[in-house]
Symmetry: C2
Subunit: 313 residues, 2 copies
């Protein structure tokens, strides 16, 4: 046990390291060595990336924990999914320990598996730690709350009595990136952004999504092209329109889902640009966020480390 924690938020395309004491972040570092560039290098690659990002941090006694895709089959050490309902203690009992090659061992948090009856299962890695961080920040949410974590794979997470009881992933960010970069819809879009035009397009995309009929996304997507082709939307508005359509469909499904938690607080967690879009979309769909938080991974990793018992408290 130690008083200092090295907390690693280790995802597909980036690695964030936090040096923490008493639940507070003292120092933050960032690297592009996500698991994707490391996956082909085996343990040695992870050890090297770990040593690089923790340089000078390992002199005294420290505990080290990590969350995210680093615990996937393509990561440093696979930490199998834990089933829902689960809290941070359930994550702690399934933590996987791996030698860092540079002193302290690393405790890797598992991800979560949700198996809704009659539907395909759902999985996440990393967001469960962010939710744990949010609960540390506002313990009242543990009783009942919903969390929205936008991203490449957006997550809507339900918490009741301190446990994640279920969640749903939406492929929103990945579909946007693919359609913009590789589809016919991207052809009319300018390389340069124009924030005002994008926002106007975004609102129109949300409006189209809100009135859509079941199954209609694949048809509505083509509107991104025809609105440009017929000059009803300027090229600079088209990326926003596409984003609004996709995020709007996510809203339609997630806010329309059958849940006991309709009246519970709705908490938005994410980096600023996406946070702003999602906050706007939630308001547009008549269910504004009750709270908006930046990345809560450091606090979540602190809660996880405490649950594992490696912190001196």
């Amino acid at each position: 046990v130690s008083r200092t924690l090295i907390a690693l938020d280790w995802g597909t395309s980036s690695l964030r390291a936090f040096r923490m004491q008493q639940g507070q972040v003292l120092e933050t570092r960032h690297s592009a060595e996500g698991i994707q560039p490391l996956a082909t290098q085996g343990a040695a690659g992870f050890e090297r990336a770990f040593a690089a990002i923790t340089a000078g941090w390992l002199d005294g006694p420290v505990a080290v924990v990590a969350s995210g895709m680093v615990g996937s089959a393509q990561g440093w050490r696979e930490a199998p999914y834990v089933g829902c309902p689960a809290d941070v203690h359930a994550l702690a009992t399934q933590a996987q320990q791996v030698a860092s090659g540079a002193g302290p061992a690393v405790l890797i948090a598992p991800g979560l598996l949700f198996e809704p009856p009659g539907s395909p299962p759902d999985v996440m890695r990393g967001e469960e730690i962010q939710v744990a961080g949010a609960l540390l920040q506002e313990p009242a949410w543990a009783e009942a709350a919903r969390f929205v974590l936008p991203g490449t794979h957006s997550k809507w997470v339900e918490v009741e009595r301190g446990h994640v009881t279920g969640f749903a992933t939406h492929l929103t960010g990945e579909c946007f990136a693919l359609l913009r970069a590789h589809s016919i819809l991207g052809r009319l879009m300018p390389a340069e952004g124009d924030a005002a035009a994008e926002l106007a397009g975004f609102d129109q995309g949300l409006a189209a999504a809100r009135t859509s009929r079941p199954g209609e996304l694949l048809h509505q997507l083509f509107g991104t092209r025809t609105l440009g082709l017929t000059r009803r939307l300027p090229p600079a508005a088209l990326p926003g329109y596409l984003s609004g359509l996709l995020i709007g469909h996510e809203m339609l499904a997630a806010l329309g889902a059958n849940t006991r938690l309709r009246q519970a607080p709705l908490v938005l967690i994410g980096e600023p640009a996406l946070q702003a879009r999602y906050a706007r979309a939630l308001a547009f769909f008549g269910r504004p966020a009750d709270a908006v938080l930046a990345n809560t991974a450091p606090q979540g990793l602190w809660a996880f480390a405490r649950a594992v018992g490696v912190l001196d408290s």
Copy 2:
């Protein structure tokens, strides 16, 4: 006017040429010189591709017509869209003539524009000619029928009293190709196909789509990954599952659309592999196709040429 027609079905990625007399195809040729590889070469590229595919066909008197993306802004000569409702005579009055550089001029058919009140416009190029071909084959359909033309951009076309009165595009094929090649969903899919496993996956994807709630596609897509990850579907079934999900969403939207033509014949036009998938999906959704046709572009180009008045009949 002549008795022989050279009919060109000239799309984005391929060029099909038909030598015809009395409405019958005497000879067919195919080339990969769609407008995409030619777009950067200007008229000279189109002239060269035309000369190559018609080699030996231009000795006697011939008329030449073309349909598809060859009439787009990126094509040989732009033939602006004609508004709905429109029949083959409306297309004929807006035909664009371009010198072929090899003898006869080429008459390029315009595409169609549909502007539904309160929704984005829709456009097509080529499918309107296929529909004209189907109407030549079965004149009774001119009174009232719906046509489904699967593809990269699937089209659902409504015909009343001989005119195309409206249509809707679905980005189904393009989304499937993108998600399979570039998204996380493709990672678990094998390079080799397995027809039986794909078909089983396809039916499961259709079933998931049929019971989906509004906006749910982006969430359901992720099921393609989790069903693979948790081994509930074998890798070989995943491409079929994704295809079933997407085609199922198209069915949900198109068959659920508000239309006067719910009781009218539903005609499926397409190449064999896609045709089989769509026929299966239509039946699964309780509305089997009343007729299934292979490519009707040659007959449609014949009808267009007659309407233009370049055929000796």
